[in-house]
């Protein structure tokens, strides 16, 4: 458990651990009171850690939990009601860990770092949460408020999400898969992964085209692009869940907001930088600063946990041997239509052609009477809309939830897609994103799901080795 990407010195860490324990205690007090009589030790220990491990509403039996430190090293298994308790003789800081391999198939910790935490036993009963459900992938640093549900007074219960178990198809423990195989043979699984990969790839493509258009017209690699995606997700979350608007109105509002957000990027930051003739490397670092600022601002707004969207994911439809939710089917259809639209825009309209002209050679385009500034503004707005849409689809894809750093976790996949396709080529970004989407999902068939992003990035590096210009790039473009 840590406060930032860097753990504090022990004193501060302790202070936070204490604060957390107090928080957890307040939340878990009721449970603890109920749990205490269950302890079968002869002498009741003066202190304890306890909790209930549940997947949704189902208590899980036989999950192993270890408490170690201060001379204690005790492993207990949860009972039939999901309860566990480890008695302690003294106050102090202990490592409390859960053994994920004892969790039932398909159930994972929502936040992998919760597998092991340092907690302080400061009062007699200390409730410990192990939120289960959809992990949000290889996210970066979890935060002190990481355990959602910690403030909801549900005590030692599992996470509130747990959509994994509510999906009839089952998510096979791969976390982000939105489709499941109806039967268990390899062929069905493969098909499920392929559909899932295409779905993921299409939504990546929406965001990646934004990156590639911005790179093409301005030369800037936008490291804050992931935050644009998160923006779409958060706006959608706010509209549907906080305000309670219908989905279609929420989508429209989100896209309008995303367009404004894209425009704001250009008007408030990047146009002034162009005016100042700030160098490309500097602008690159500005986007990194922007990414940090926005990301933590989102966390400031919605907290560090995973927030569930109150949206209907639609009925589950069975396509051949594959189960999909209606929302995913619609999402894929929308992606395809929008991508086709973007293709037509770039090849058929005046502005689209002007965009490609600016990508090709900005000064030449300017010399021939194209308003480069206007084109760039349009590109930012377009990128905002596309990426906002990707944000909406992504929240659906990962199981209708949103976290402050979802965009950042897939930013590298977006870059991988763009680079793979050939920097600056919109069509290349589409192909690259599809490849990345498929690779991440297919990889889960062969290796641990938590390595699937690593495989995608490895593919990127290997392709660069053989074909530095990307799949569709022109060789001469490389220095």
């Amino acid at each position: 458990m840590k406060t930032s990407s860097r753990p504090r010195r022990s004193g501060l860490r302790r202070a936070i651990a204490v604060a957390l324990a107090v928080m957890a205690m307040a939340a878990g007090g009721a449970t603890a009171a109920a749990a205490a009589p269950l302890a079968e030790t002869g002498q009741p220990a003066p202190y304890n850690f306890n909790g209930i491990v549940r997947d949704g509403q189902t208590p899980l039996e036989g999950v192993e939990i270890t408490v170690s430190g201060n001379g204690v090293d005790e492993t207990v298994a949860t009972g039939a009601d999901g309860r566990w308790l480890v008695g302690l003789q003294e106050q102090g800081t202990y490592t409390v860990s859960i053994d994920p391999s004892t969790l039932p198939e398909g159930v994972t910790l929502r936040d992998p770092s919760f597998e092991s935490r340092e907690l302080t036993a400061s009062s007699s009963a200390n409730g410990v949460l192990f939120p289960l459900g959809e992990p949000t992938g290889g996210g970066s640093a979890p935060t002190p408020s990481g355990g959602t549900g910690g403030n909801t007074g549900t005590g030692g219960e599992g996470g509130t999400g747990g959509t994994g178990s509510s999906d009839p198809g089952g998510d096979a423990g791969s976390g982000e898969a939105s489709t499941g195989a109806a039967s268990n043979d390899f062929g069905s699984k493969l098909l499920a992964r392929i559909i899932s990969g295409v779905s993921f790839g299409l939504l990546l493509a929406l965001a990646a085209i934004g990156i590639t258009l911005i790179f093409g017209t301005t030369g800037v690699n936008n490291f804050a692009h992931g935050e644009m995606l998160t923006f779409g997700g958060i706006a959608f979350y706010a509209a549907t869940t906080l305000v309670g608007l219908p989905v279609w109105i929420s989508v429209v509002l989100t896209l309008v907001a995303a367009a404004a957000f894209g425009w704001f990027h250009d008007a408030a930051i990047f146009r002034p930088l162009r005016r100042r003739r700030v160098g490309l490397v500097q602008v690159l670092i500005v986007t990194i600063g922007l990414s940090i600022a926005l990301r933590y601002f989102y966390q400031f707004l919605i907290g560090g946990g995973t927030e569930q969207l109150r949206v209907d994911r639609g009925i589950v439809v069975q396509v051949g041997p594959v189960n999909m939710t209606m929302s995913n089917v619609v999402g894929m259809a929308v992606s395809v239509v929008v991508l086709l639209g973007v293709g037509l825009f770039l090849t058929r309209t005046r502005i689209g052609k002007a965009t490609r002209a600016v990508s090709d050679n900005a000064s030449l385009a300017a010399a021939s009477g194209i308003d480069v500034d206007r084109v760039i503004r349009i590109v930012w707005v377009l990128a905002g809309v596309l990426t906002g849409l990707a944000g909406i689809l992504y929240t659906y894809f990962i199981g209708a939830n949103i976290k402050w750093d979802v965009g950042f976790t897939i930013l590298l996949l977006l870059f991988a897609g763009v680079t793979l396709g050939g920097l600056g080529s919109a069509f290349g970004a589409l192909v690259g994103a599809l490849v990345i989407g498929l690779v991440t999902e297919l990889a889960t068939l062969f290796i641990a799901p938590d390595l699937r992003y690593a495989v995608a990035l490895l593919v990127l590096i290997l392709v660069l080795l053989v074909r530095p210009q990307g799949i569709l790039g022109r060789r001469e473009r490389i220095g």
Binding site: K353, A357, D360, N361, A365, S368, I370, E476
Partner: protein, 339 residues
């Protein structure tokens, strides 16, 4: 088409008859069948060319003739699709650029590459060869390279004085004027004691006031026993200082000869005046700029077929849009990409 040439049949530098690709009495560079294609476009296709030792040779030709690309190929900054060339008898094909430089064949660039955030003196010292202190571990022990460094500083100061840059010794190179940067680049190249100096458009962007001293410096190189090969558009410079002129057009060597007579060569007239003869440039203004590259390519294709064009087209008839089209010519692309 060479019937009407006025170029003399023989010349003291030439072994045999004067003409494109003729043999030299004492060549320092010999190139054979060098071809470089960009996509479907052939930028350079030099069948045979020799550079005479100890003289100043100019490489001229219209925009997009492949001069700079040929330069890049000879110095290892670009790889040819095929071809062989040698420098002082040893083959240089596929030798990396830094090794080419170490053999004594040093170049400058069309767009000056002075190292802006190094001082003028540091720029100069970078040119010196075989520095012991340039090894990672030796660098840590100053006694190992102190003496050599002092000698290099002394030589750099002499060169700076000769190029009238001594007052700027401690200034950042970024603060120099365009002409001074050209001078610095030339002086820096001399620090490596080259046998062949290759100058890519030494006059481009130079203040006219500096022109004469630059010309004198180039001539001075020959007096010091070096061979000079330069690319230039400025015919004034070509006529004044070169001993030999090689003309390229559409990637090929189309003519060679002494500067006094070369401009009367029919092939040269064709190359310069016929280059934009049959392209309908009037329509180009209305083209989408995205297609300008393709336009340029198409134009080139048209040129390739345009053998035996009548001389006498008015150059002034060439409309304005020709300039950006020529800018986008493939010859300059590698430069752009190296940004």
């Amino acid at each position: 088409m060479s019937d009407t040439t006025t170029t003399p049949r023989t010349h003291p530098l030439v072994d045999g008859e004067v003409g494109p690709g003729c043999k030299k009495v004492d060549p320092i560079v010999v190139a054979d069948g060098v071809v470089r294609q960009f996509g479907g476009l052939t930028a350079v296709d030099v069948a045979h060319v020799e550079i005479p030792r100890g003289h100043i040779t100019a490489l001229i030709g219209p925009n997009g003739a492949g001069k700079t690309t040929f330069f890049n190929l000879l110095t290892g900054f670009d790889r040819p699709n095929q071809g062989q060339w040698s420098f002082e008898g040893s083959s240089l094909a596929r030798v990396p650029s830094h090794k080419v430089a170490r053999k004594g064949m040093v170049r400058t660039f069309q767009l000056t590459k002075s190292l802006g955030r190094l001082t003028v003196l540091q720029n100069m010292l970078l040119g010196a060869r075989d520095q012991r202190g340039e090894g990672l571990f030796a660098a840590l022990l100053k006694p190992l390279w102190k003496a050599q460094e002092a000698a290099n500083v002394e030589r750099a100061d002499q060169l700076l004085a000769r190029f009238k840059l001594d007052a700027k010794r401690e200034d950042y190179a970024a603060s120099l004027s365009g002409g001074q940067r050209k001078l610095l680049e030339m002086a820096r190249a001399l620090m490596s004691e080259p046998t062949l100096v290759m100058l890519d458009e030494p006059m481009a962007g130079v203040n006219p006031a500096l022109t004469q001293s630059l010309l004198d410096h180039v001539k001075g190189l020959k007096d010091d026993g070096m061979t000079v090969l330069f690319v230039e558009h400025d015919m004034h410079m070509v006529r004044h200082i070169s001993d030999w002129v090689i003309v390229m057009a559409e990637g090929k060597v189309v003519a060679e000869g002494p500067p006094e007579t070369i401009m009367q060569d029919q092939a040269v007239v064709d190359a310069y005046l016929g280059a934009h003869h049959d392209t309908d440039l009037g329509t180009l203004t209305n083209q989408q700029v995205a297609q300008i590259h393709e336009e340029a390519d198409a134009e080139r294709d048209a040129e390739l077929e345009a053998d035996g064009i009548e001389a006498g087209d008015e150059p002034a008839a060439t409309p304005e849009p020709e300039a950006p089209a020529a800018e986008a010519a493939p010859e300059q692309r590698p430069e752009e990409e190296q940004r």
